[in-house]
Amino acid sequence: MGVNDDKLPVYAESVPGGGIITTQLNKIFTLTQAKSLWYLLFGTACCAIELMATGASRYDFDRLGMIFRASPRQADLMIVAGTITYKMAPVVKRLYDQMAEPRYVLAMGGCAIGGGPFYYDSYAVLRGIDKVIPVDVYVPGCPPRPEALLQGCLEVGKKLRTQKMEDWRVRNDG
């Protein structure tokens, strides 16, 4: 066979005639998903600049199969890059609800993780998006460098590979 079968979650069998592999649907599904994590652009502050830098040619998100989508309905991963205010929080929740399962959230930077520099003395800033939506991976930094964000996205991929289709979060909107 022409494939490097120790890298694939498959069991290749020599069948007369060839061209047949046996595997679990779950493994193929999560593998393909981890290699094409389309992410929702959610930049609200300076972290968005690093997110753009990561998406641009020098760091190149595309080589991980990550392409930005402007619509939550086409996105698998939501990268929340920036400060979320109380006014913005319902919008984050709404966009998360509009994403299709399986969906993942990456909290990028101090603000999205816990309020960051606005933790004290602020009347407007939400102290961490995990108060509103579930978060899978936290990437600390103010803002994190593109390498850190890439690492975070690889961690999302790793987590995704360990999940089973029956573990997908069930929508609870009725």
Binding site: Y86, K87, Y119, Y120, D121, S122, Y123, A124
Partner: protein, 156 residues
């Protein structure tokens, strides 16, 4: 006009009603009584030697004794700027709107109203737009404001 010429010209036309605030800035800075705001604005906007058509900024200030509303105006035609402010008492924070002169004041005045509680009499749309829609905790930029969710910075 230079700063000195602006000061002389404006004081000549508005003598006794406004007061000059000495400063090191490149622009003249006047203190205008709250009752004179609209007349003064109309004058500097319409006067052919001033033509201050562009409201750059309008901001509220809380000094703990009083409120101030600061206006920053510039003229593209004559390439000069002036600043002026008015002082409002804490218990009666209201001033006439300048939307009739500079329409750009609309959102600035809404912002000052929302965050400081300064009422702009005659404003057509004094509604909330920066804070969350269900906000019920008053005016957060007032110095005596205490919020429900605010975590105070720890003493070190």
């Amino acid at each position: 006009m230079t700063k000195e010429e602006l000061i002389a010209y404006i004081q000549e036309n508005f003598s006794g009603k406004i007061e000059l605030i000495e400063n090191d800035m490149a622009e003249p800075y006047f203190l205008v009584p709250a009752g004179e705001i609209v007349a003064f604005s109309r004058f500097i906007h319409d006067d052919t030697k001033l033509l201050l058509h562009f409201l750059m900024n309008l901001s509220g200030v809380d000094t703990k004794e009083q409120f101030e509303v600061v206006y920053n105006i510039c003229s593209y035609r004559h390439k000069h700027r002036i600043f002026f402010k008015t002082v409002l008492p804490y218990d009666k924070a209201q001033v006439d709107t300048v939307i009739g002169i500079w329409p750009a004041a609309n959102w600035y005045e809404r912002e000052a109203w929302e965050l400081f509680g300064i009422t702009f009499v005659g404003h057509p749309n004094l509604k909330r737009f920066l804070l969350p829609d269900d906000w019920d905790q008053g005016h957060p930029l007032r110095k005596d404001w205490v919020g429900r969710d605010v975590i105070p910075f720890p003493e070190v």
